[in-house]
């Protein structure tokens, strides 16, 4: 064994150990608890959960609301994707960036935005809380960018050449859209729809903020309720297994489709044309509609954030409310929540980068190709499931400070590896050999040759991990101790307390979280692009 292999082996062992401890053991604990609960027959818990009409009802609701959300998102997102791929126009980049804003915004911010828009004290003046409409709207808002970016990105890679070929064969713009562009976009659309369905199926933050009524509880919300409110871990584990099976199955479908998309389609450089005639009317209409849908909740949040409970605007009452309030146990002020959030984000980003880099190195340079398949598994594990797994597997960990950063590092892990893997793969194979002939060992090669070349990707990965940790809600809610409440947890806590001032403080904290996240994302856009 050469020293380089030993080095890759060490990196692979580190990454495997992390995945084992942070993901596989908790999942195993859930499986064990769900299938063989203390004292019961094997599989009794699972069968009981599947046979209970209440849980079946939750599964049914979770499925059809996700299906409906997905259809709505695709119907609204697809035209934008086609128009974005076809046309070049001024402000196109800015617009694409705007579309992405909701997707990177924490769910809590999205939820608070809709509350500010159409909540009890909302800008629109209608209270849509606890309606299906507001849940669907929030899901469309949140996932629109997934469809628009995935599909338009794929089509832009195909380029205009195929439509030109269709034109030489007698097809006009509409015919070629119908016979060439749409069929080409179909696999990407299905992939995007699968992803959207997974997100909506495991919807949590949006539901607990906008539709806390039991009628609207998804499996994820039910998991949270069973775990934290009712302390029925057996049922929770059984339910988590059902959810894991659905999401895991769909995750496999998604990665299959992704692999198919990776097949190089006939190439052509992306160069759209300027919109003319009917095309420009459609484009303008679509963009106005989408702009309104995307921006309305965020603008509403901004307006409400500076509106006092008595209706005066602008006012700093809400921002002041963040600092004060009753000093009861676990009551988080802006200072402590922001400090906790930044501390956890820094810690989890560091961990995710370290382990992610080891993982990527082991997969690319060593014989750990099988690990690659594992890197998507965290994506299939919902945050509340993860929190539940930690509670069951490591009860002692939850009493400490370290549960949250570990969970956040794991949730950020797929984003980090998806960014670092392609960067490391793109490095010429001969380089490491050249460094070796010049006398550099594996560690020196990594620090002097490989790392300097992938700095932009490392920066992107870091920003992603940081943003993920800042916005993470479900796992934090289960794992965080009151004195370590993060911004999203603090927002939810304030929202659950009575009084206009607490609502105002929740708005103010949401504004702060929105701004901090936006800052991180601006840095991300500056530094380059990930592989999403």
């Amino acid at each position: 064994m050469t020293s380089r292999n030993a080095f890759a082996w060490g990196a692979g062992a580190l990454a495997s150990l992390f995945l084992l401890a942070a993901l596989l053991v908790p999942l195993g604990a859930i499986l064990w608890r769900g299938v063989a609960p203390e004292g019961g027959r094997l599989g009794a818990g699972l069968l009981a959960a599947l046979g209970d009409p209440y849980y079946l009802g939750r599964l049914w609701f979770t499925t059809w609301q996700a299906l409906l959300s997905t259809v709505l998102t695709v119907v609204l997102g697809l035209p934008s994707a086609l128009l974005l791929a076809r046309y070049r126009f001024a402000g196109r980049r800015l617009l694409t960036a705007t579309f992405t804003v909701p997707f990177v915004m924490p769910t809590v911010v999205a939820g608070m935005g809709f509350l500010a828009l159409a909540g009890p004290r909302g800008v629109l003046g209608v209270d849509l809380r606890n309606t299906l409409a507001v849940v669907l709207a929030a899901h469309v808002f949140y996932n629109f960018a997934v469809v628009a970016r995935l599909v338009s990105g794929f089509l832009a890679g195909v380029g205009p050449r195929l439509e030109q070929a269709a034109a030489t064969l007698g097809a006009g713009p509409w015919r070629s859209a119908w016979r060439v562009t749409l069929p080409l976009a179909l696999p990407a659309t299905i992939a995007a729809a699968t992803l959207v369905f997974i997100f909506c199926f495991t919807s949590f933050g949006v539901i607990v903020i906008l539709a806390p009524d039991a009628r609207f509880a998804t499996l994820e919300v039910e998991l949270y309720r069973l775990t934290l409110r009712l302390l029925r871990l057996d049922s929770a584990a059984a339910l988590a297994l059902v959810q894991l099976a659905v999401v895991g199955g769909l995750g496999l479908v998604y990665s299959r489709l992704q692999a198919r998309l990776a097949v190089p389609v006939a190439v052509g450089h992306a160069s759209g044309r300027r919109p003319r005639g009917l095309g420009s009317v459609l484009l303008a209409g679509d963009l106005a509609l989408i702009g309104a849908v995307v921006l309305a909740p965020l603008v509403a949040l901004g307006v409400q954030g500076f509106t006092a409970p008595d209706g005066s605007f602008p006012s700093l009452v809400n921002l002041q409310a963040m600092f004060g309030g009753t000093r009861s146990v676990g009551f988080a002020t802006l200072g402590s929540a922001l400090r906790n959030s930044l501390t956890f984000a820094t810690l989890s980003t560091t961990m995710a980068l370290l382990v992610g880099l080891a993982f990527a190195y082991a997969v690319v340079r060593g014989h750990f190709a099988w690990l690659d398949g594992l890197s998507l598994l965290p994506l299939a594990t919902s945050p509340v499931t993860l929190g539940l797994g930690y509670l069951i597997a490591y009860p002692w960990l939850v009493a400490t400070f370290w549960g949250v950063p570990l969970a956040h590092a794991l949730i950020a892990f797929p984003f980090v590896t998806r960014t670092l893997l392609p960067a490391l793969r793109a490095l010429p194979r001969g380089q490491a050999g050249a460094a070796a002939t010049l006398g550099a060992g594996p560690l020196r090669t990594l620090t002097r040759v490989e790392l300097p070349q992938i700095v932009p990707s490392v920066a992107v990965a870091a920003a992603f991990a940081f943003a993920v940790s800042l916005g993470e809600f479900g796992a934090s809610l289960l794992l965080v101790r009151p004195e370590y409440a993060t911004l999203p947890v603090a927002i939810f806590d304030r929202l659950g307390r009575p009084g206009a001032l607490n609502y105002g403080a929740a708005l103010g904290l949401s504004l702060v979280l929105m701004v901090v996240t936006a800052l991180v994302m601006v840095l991300l856009q500056r530094r380059g692009r990930g592989e999403f």
């Binding site: 050449r161 030109q164 269709a166 030489t168 064969l169 007698g170 179909l186 006939a266």
Partner: protein, 344 residues
């Protein structure tokens, strides 16, 4: 009737890609647009196809001005450099694409697809995915797809440039055969003179957006329009400037300003030293085997030490040539041409 292009022009910013080109492709003939990369030949083809809009000029087809007619109504078939096959359709689906647009009934469509696949040598492969085909097969599908609707004009944009050497020669001859059978007008864009001469009834040489010379392959080769064209077409014995004046003086020709001197090597014979009568003596500087043929660099003292490149087979040389060997170089007056030498 055929296709006519009149003073066609297209600029991209300050670059004149096509600079006032006038050309005619008579009915049933194939024209090769030949030029180095970036000369505007592909842009000219895209103007004819209607994929680009000209800044000025007209495209006239069978007497009708089609300059403002959209591509899909021009009744043409085009083969793209990167094939541009539809990845979501199988081979038959690709070939049938234009037939569907023209509302050809299903039965007739099927028969036509089979006929075309047979023509390009892909009979029985209709159900294959286009990904799974080799480069040569993909090119055949692209050709069949373009020809299936029976277009009045066929445009081919460097169709062989993405294929390897051996395949290129094979497909070149097949395309030439098919285009001759079809008797429709065709324009074949290429940077390879061998392809152009093998396929076309007429060749148009392009340089920097303009057509420098048009004519039948033989005529264009035999008397290139100028020194640049001669070099581009493969003539190696072209003297310009000072060198041209010296050689011209030695062979008793007068040379004007902006003129170059061309020696057509296909008219030149080598004889054993002393056997050429008044022919000048040439000394071998370098002898390189090019397959079965020889390429010799000869120094001719009586022509102001000019270097002449000669190609031929060993039987003309009486034994293997080696540096220092001497021959008599016989160049009849018809081998010499005075050509214009325009500034680039």
């Amino acid at each position: 009737m055929g296709l006519e292009v009149e003073r066609l022009a297209k600029s991209y910013g300050p670059v004149k890609a096509v600079d006032g080109v006038t050309l005619a492709v008579p009915s049933g003939t194939t024209l090769a647009l030949l030029g180095p990369s970036g000369c505007g030949k592909s842009t000219l083809l895209r103007l004819v196809a209607g994929l680009e809009r000209p800044d000025a000029g007209r495209v006239v087809f069978d007497g009708a001005d089609v300059t403002n007619v959209p591509t899909r109504r021009r009744d043409l078939g085009m083969v793209f450099q990167d094939f541009a096959l539809f990845p979501h359709l199988d081979v038959a689906g690709n070939v049938a694409f234009g037939l569907v647009e023209r509302r050809v009934p299903v039965a007739a469509r099927r028969a036509r697809v089979e006929e075309l696949l047979g023509l390009v040598g892909l009979a029985g492969l209709g159900r294959r995915r286009v990904h799974d085909l080799s480069g040569g097969q993909q090119q055949r599908v692209a050709l069949a797809r373009a020809l299936a609707p029976g277009p009045a004009l066929v445009l081919l944009d460097e169709p062989l440039s993405n294929l390897d050497e051996a395949l290129r020669a094979e497909l070149r001859d097949e395309i030439a055969f098919i285009l001759r059978q079809l008797e429709t007008e065709a324009i074949y864009v290429t940077h390879d003179q061998v392809e152009a001469f093998a396929i076309a009834d007429a060749v148009a040489v392009m340089r920097e957006g303009s057509v420098v010379q048009v004519g039948p392959p033989g005529a264009v080769l035999a008397s290139p329009a100028d020194a640049w064209t001669a070099r581009f077409l493969g003539h190696e014995n072209v003297w310009r400037g000072e060198a041209a004046v010296k050689v011209a003086k030695a062979v008793q020709t007068t040379l004007g300003r902006d003129e170059a001197l061309l020696l057509r090597v296909d008219e030149v014979r080598l004889l054993p030293a002393g056997a050429g009568g008044t022919a000048p003596e040439a000394v071998v500087r370098a002898a390189v085997r090019e397959g079965l043929a020889w390429r010799l660099e000869l120094a001719v003292e009586r022509w102001a030490q000019a270097t002449v490149v000669w190609r031929g087979y060993g039987r003309e040389l009486a034994g293997e040539p080696a540096p220092g060997d001497r021959y008599a170089l016989v160049a009849p007056p018809a081998a010499w041409q005075v050509v214009p030498d325009r500034a680039p």
